[in-house]
């Protein structure tokens, strides 16, 4: 059996491909230093926000007046306590898609079979 010539490409494909790939440097502007460190700034900012919100919840929870309201879940409690506009943003930013979860698990070296099995169990 011969190895080659069983698959082919549209005519002129490789010429176009070379041109298309050579345009990548013009299209893709390299990130500036600020852009490179911005994820870390965002990370630090989110830690500060978490610490603030955590501290706020802790202080509020410690107030006797709130004892009767322990049955609230934290999210509805926060939505009433915090600025509603700010809450909408928080909800949007923390929304996770299946794709996010799968990418995270793959990056964490969880096997494909295990992910698929977990998804199966979740759905059935």
């Amino acid at each position: 059996m011969t190895k080659k010539n069983d698959i082919f490409v549209p005519e002129g494909y490789f010429q176009n491909l070379e041109q298309k790939l050579s345009r990548i440097p013009q299209k893709e502007v390299r990130p500036t230093t600020l852009q490179k460190v911005s994820p870390w700034i965002a990370y630090a900012a989110s830690l500060v926000i978490l610490a603030s919100v955590g501290g706020f919840i802790f202080r509020k929870a410690a107030e006797p007046v709130l004892q009767e309201e322990y049955s609230w879940d934290y999210l509805s409690y926060l939505s009433r306590s915090l600025d509603p506009d700010g809450m909408i943003e928080l909800e949007e930013s923390t929304e996770l898609t299946d794709e996010d979860i799968v990418n995270f698990l793959l990056a964490d070296n969880v096997s494909v079979e295990l992910i698929a099995e977990a998804n199966y169990e979740e759905n059935y």
Partner: protein
């Protein structure tokens, strides 16, 4: 910056066609190979300033390409599993319906058998059989020992032989 662009264009000129054939065998579709190749070269461009020359440029470029391809295949497998579909059936459908295929029936069966191999075995087989890389070159690219590569290739070959002999029997 201009210097990097020159290096990048050199890589495009030198490797784009060869990497295309590798990726095409791995993903079994011209369109997917085309998309993936752009992602690979984007990655090469982004990583180029960090290339320090410890590895040969050839090895470095191939390593990016093979890693990106394996990631792509793993994601496809997961996506198919999440949709409760079989990736093997999807790959077989691609080979069957490939408009850019003009080989014999046996070659088509070989391609189908190839898509059923585990990704790493498929990778080793494609690199050795079609890309005609030496075990030493594959070892430098994948970081796998020559012995393990030979074992992988042998297993893949046996599985594909089985697939082809089934074809002969059914004819």
């Amino acid at each position: 910056m201009k210097e990097l662009e020159q290096v990048f264009n050199g890589i495009v000129k030198e490797y784009s066609e060869r990497l295309y054939w590798h990726v095409r065998r791995m993903v079994a579709s011209h369109e997917d190979a085309d998309d993936l190749l752009q992602e690979i070269f984007l990655k090469i461009w982004t990583a180029l300033p960090s290339f320090r020359g410890e590895a040969q440029l050839y090895t470095w470029v191939w390593r990016i390409a093979t890693n990106e391809t394996l990631n792509h295949l793993r994601k496809e497998r997961v996506r198919a599993a999440l949709r409760m579909q079989s990736i093997d059936a999807e790959m077989e459908r691609r080979v069957e319906g490939d408009p850019y295929f003009n080989g014999t029936e046996a070659q088509r069966e070989l391609m189908k058998g190839l898509t059923k191999l585990p990704e790493k075995q498929r990778q080793v087989f494609v690199m050795r059989w079609w890309d005609e890389l030496s075990y030493e070159e594959i070892s430098a690219i994948t970081g796998t020992s020559v012995g393990a590569l030979k074992a992988s290739y042998h297993i893949a070959q046996e599985k594909l032989k089985l697939n082809l002999s089934t074809l002969e029997v059914s004819k």
